[in-house]
Symmetry: C2
Subunit: 197 residues, 2 copies
DNA sequence: GTCTATATCCAGATAGAC
DNA sequence: GTCTATCTGGATATAGAC
């Protein structure tokens, strides 16, 4: 019976979260005021607080939203044939984020926010661990395809190199955000020249 | 004539900045209030504002302080013999930061802060560009030592790979901050297995 | 559910005595 | 230069009408 109402609520929450995310992407979580979010939605304070109990709730929900998409993207990678190079995997991950968010500032800010906000920290930790696990699986597969290592070595190397791939993505995002003259294309091309062995 | 006074002022500023840095490292720039900094110094509001015109000034000064040390460290690297491996260079950079700050949370937060604070952005941009330049010089030297490339190729490869080394450092810091189970030792060991060619 | 109006709090910053 | 006391603004969040 409360079916329509549930749908409506979910829609409104998504609407509010989307507007908030636009604000956060522009100015960061902490520097964005509820007043700005309210203006961006076109709604009123009362309406917002009817759906979110606090600004903190909104922050966490926004972070969850755009991080979730990434994990879904990645899960598909492992089954692609031919198996892409490690450098290509990183490039795809970065491209997915870029399309979703426009730029990487928001993600860089989320990492910073995690330092002082336990809820965000937990969320990021979970997502990053999932991401790393996907990379571990992919890399094991990649080493198997090379055919020069035994099964145990493939798995071990996957575990060892996964955080390095994560770094290559994170570094792109930090430098792309902070350095005005960062050359993303050249960076991605260089990744293809890296040898994991 | 105002000599003692100048020294005293500089000392006090450093004292205040050090206390502020401790606070920022714990809670982040934005989440730290002036009241906390005041408490940490043991001084009073009036005393602080006698030396810093605003919280923002204090933030920028703190960031400048700990970023500056890193650039100095790096400048020495290029002249070391035998020339360390790229992976070792990254490890040294990371170790230097760790000794100076205890952990990397503060740096991760600075990157986030740069998104919304132009003064911090400029500072980080400058430091990161200097860092990258040092890496470029070092890498050119490294490729020369291998003896398989001509001069032009050495320089070009240095420019191409420098941002990758930067990423390897940044990724360590992000993951070390955000992932409770991040294995820094294993990560650094893996870097030694990366081949740049 | 949503609005307007407002309560409440705490931040950064200052004034003026010493 | 440093203190205490305080101002002022803007932040989050709520109350109550519709």
């Amino acid at each position: 019976m409360p079916k329509v109402s549930e749908e409506y609520k979910a829609e409104r929450r998504a609407e509010i979260a989307a507007a908030a995310l636009r604000c956060f992407a522009r100015k960061g979580f902490q520097a964005t005021s509820m007043a700005e979010i309210i203006a961006e939605t076109g709604l009123s304070a009362g309406a917002i607080y009817g759906h979110y109990a606090s600004k903190d709730d909104l922050v966490v929900d926004c972070a969850r939203y755009f991080l979730g998409n990434r994990v879904n993207d990645l899960a598909r990678l492992k089954d692609q044939r031919p198996l892409p190079q490690p450098g290509q995997v990183a490039a795809m991950f970065i491209a997915g984020f870029g399309e979703d968010l426009g730029d990487f500032g928001i993600l860089v800010q989320v990492w910073g926010e995690a330092v002082s906000n336990p809820k965000v920290a937990e969320l990021i930790g979970s997502v990053l661990t999932q991401t790393r696990t996907v990379y571990e699986d992919y890399l094991a597969e990649w080493f198997r395809a090379k055919g020069t290592l035994n099964e145990q070595e493939c798995v071990a190397k996957g575990i060892a190199f996964a955080p390095v791939i994560v770094s290559l993505c994170q570094g792109y995002m930090v430098q792309g955000t902070v350095l005005p003259d960062f050359d993303g294309e050249a960076y991605l091309a260089t990744l293809l020249d890296l040898r994991f062995d």
